[in-house]
């Protein structure tokens, strides 16, 4: 279990996450959904250890998680433009013995001898994912992984996530593009009002769609009718 107890975090004394108590099954794929500003990225940052919580604990099988065991794939990452993709990948230690750089690059359609400055946003994202797959990590955090990917790469990524899970990895995904989440996740958790409001199993995904995104529609309509 990945257990979170009494977790709170605030930016400039403004609470973003408050008294979170939740347990996530390990070796599962967890989707995190919520409106913009609901704290998804902050939650991931706290989970990855980049932000220290005001209080609370995060334990992975009753032990602290080492940062080196966490793969964090953020929505936008900085790349040195004058490095080739192969040079970029060479920076990362190969701790996953099954990792085959050439084959994966072929599947992702990435020319490894090309300068990264010539890569598109989607290609950069795929390269970043490759760099994390090269390492044997326990926990994978994907923040908006499907943004900027073409249909083919989207499918490849979904398949990779499934494969990682089959290899016993625990995966967290936050995404605005929700369709892939329904097919992938063992559970989807709704972050609302600084806390996890509810967790949904696959059989409840219709309910999730209605409750979360129905609420979003309502919110959108209300906001727009007031603003325009």
């Amino acid at each position: 279990m990945l257990s979170i107890k009494d977790l709170s975090f605030s930016y400039n004394e403004e609470p973003v996450l408050k008294d979170i108590n939740i347990s996530f099954e390990i070796n599962h794929i967890h989707g995190i959904v919520g409106l913009n500003g609901s704290g998804k990225t902050t939650f991931f940052n706290v989970l990855a250890g980049f932000l220290s919580p005001d209080n609370g604990t995060i334990l992975f099988n009753n032990a602290e998680v080492f940062k080196k065991n966490i793969a964090y794939i953020d929505a936008e990452s900085f790349f040195y433009p004058k490095l080739t993709a192969a040079e970029f990948l060479s920076v990362f230690p190969k701790t996953n013995s099954n990792f085959n750089e050439t084959e994966l690059a072929h599947i992702f359609n990435l020319p490894l001898d090309e300068f990264i400055e010539n890569y598109s946003t989607g290609m950069k994202k795929k390269l970043l994912i490759m760099s994390q797959l090269k390492q044997d990590k326990q926990l994978f955090i994907f923040d908006e992984p499907f943004n900027g990917l073409d249909i083919e790469s989207n499918k490849s990524l979904q398949y990779i996530i499934e494969l990682l899970n089959k290899k016993g990895k625990t995966i967290f995904i936050a995404s605005h593009i929700i369709e892939p989440l329904f097919g992938l996740c063992h559970q989807i958790h709704h972050l609302k009002n600084k806390n996890f409001a509810k967790s949904y199993l696959p059989k409840d995904y219709d309910l999730l769609n209605m409750e979360v995104f129905g609420e979003f529609d309502e919110h959108l309509k209300n906001t727009l009718s007031k603003s325009l």
Partner: protein, 306 residues
């Protein structure tokens, strides 16, 4: 003038009242340099122009300014003209009064120049030479021509008095700029080092390369100008201190979502210390402060033990 507003907030945050002290100091130094002796003033013009050129070439906010600010180019022109004044006004009271116009004309034109390079050479031996030191590989590729010109100038002119040091200073300045960019969180964590180890390894790698370039020039220079050996030692030591501070500042302010750190002002103060020894203690304080801050900040991103 949104850009000036941003600069005002940055100066207020980073320096406060110290800003006026630094402006006064810079003006005094500028006046002294332009009055010192023949031709020194022209080197000073060269250095000032290079610093502005380098700043403009490497600034990361150009796209943002162009996209979001009205009359972006004019805003940059005004910014440069204002920040040049502490250096240029003193010229007017010296024999180099005409440099005032040269400085302002060049910095006026600067924002209109495009720097996008189309060169795609990989120089694959860099990968082997620098062994995964991505900061250097990427940085050298971006500035190769300028680095070669500066190094050769320094080497060829090394028997002379001032020239080689100016060329070396400019060379080192480019090296410092490599460390002003934040690597991604994934690259940072790939080293699997604890914060103190990461700082030490970044510094030793940078210092090693800097000494390799600086040492031959300084040795030849000291052999031909025996009265300069002490200054040459100060020069290399001070440059190492600047590099250490640049690395410490980068990690002190490291945020995985921002690729650029804005501590240009602190760095300019540090660089002035090369010419104004009174600023040396301030440089030491900057380094000690930043190093402690860097280790603390890195502990958010790296495990305490590897």
């Amino acid at each position: 003038m949104q850009l000036l507003k941003i600069r005002y907030f940055q100066l207020k945050r980073d320096l406060g009242f110290l800003f006026f002290v630094i402006v006064a100091l810079a003006s005094c130094v500028s006046f002294l340099v332009f009055n010192y002796q023949k031709q020194i003033g022209l080197y000073a013009v060269g250095i000032i122009l290079y610093l502005f050129y380098n700043f403009h070439k490497n600034r990361r906010d150009t796209a943002f300014i162009n996209k979001h600010f009205e009359s972006a180019t004019i805003q940059m022109v005004v910014e440069y003209q204002l920040f040049l004044l502490p250096f240029s006004i003193p010229c007017l009271f010296t024999d180099y009064w005409y440099c005032f116009f040269a400085l302002h004309i060049f910095t006026f034109l600067l924002p209109f120049i495009g720097f996008k390079t189309k060169i795609q050479f990989k120089y694959e031996f860099f990968t082997r030479l620098f062994k995964n030191d991505y900061v250097f590989i990427s940085g050298v590729r971006r500035n190769l021509l300028l680095l070669i010109i500066l190094f050769l100038s320094a080497l060829i002119l090394s028997p002379l008095k001032l020239f080689p040091l100016v060329a070396l200073f400019l060379f080192n300045n480019i090296i410092f700029s490599f460390y002003e960019i934040n690597e991604s969180i994934q690259m940072l964590q790939a080293s699997r080092r604890a914060p103190k180890q990461l700082m030490a390894s970044s510094l030793s790698s940078g210092v090693g390369k800097m000494i390799m370039v600086n040492f031959p020039v300084l040795v030849i220079n000291s052999l031909f100008n025996t009265d300069l050996w002490l200054f040459n030692m100060y020069f290399i030591a001070y440059n190492i201190l600047i590099l250490a501070t640049v690395i410490a500042l980068k990690y002190e302010n490291y945020q995985y979502k921002n690729s650029v750190n804005n501590h240009q002002i602190k760095l300019i103060v540090m660089m002035l210390g090369l010419f104004i020894p009174y600023l040396f203690p301030l440089a030491i304080i900057f380094y000690i402060q930043s190093r402690a801050g860097a280790i603390k900040n890195l502990s958010h991103y790296l495990d305490a033990v590897n």
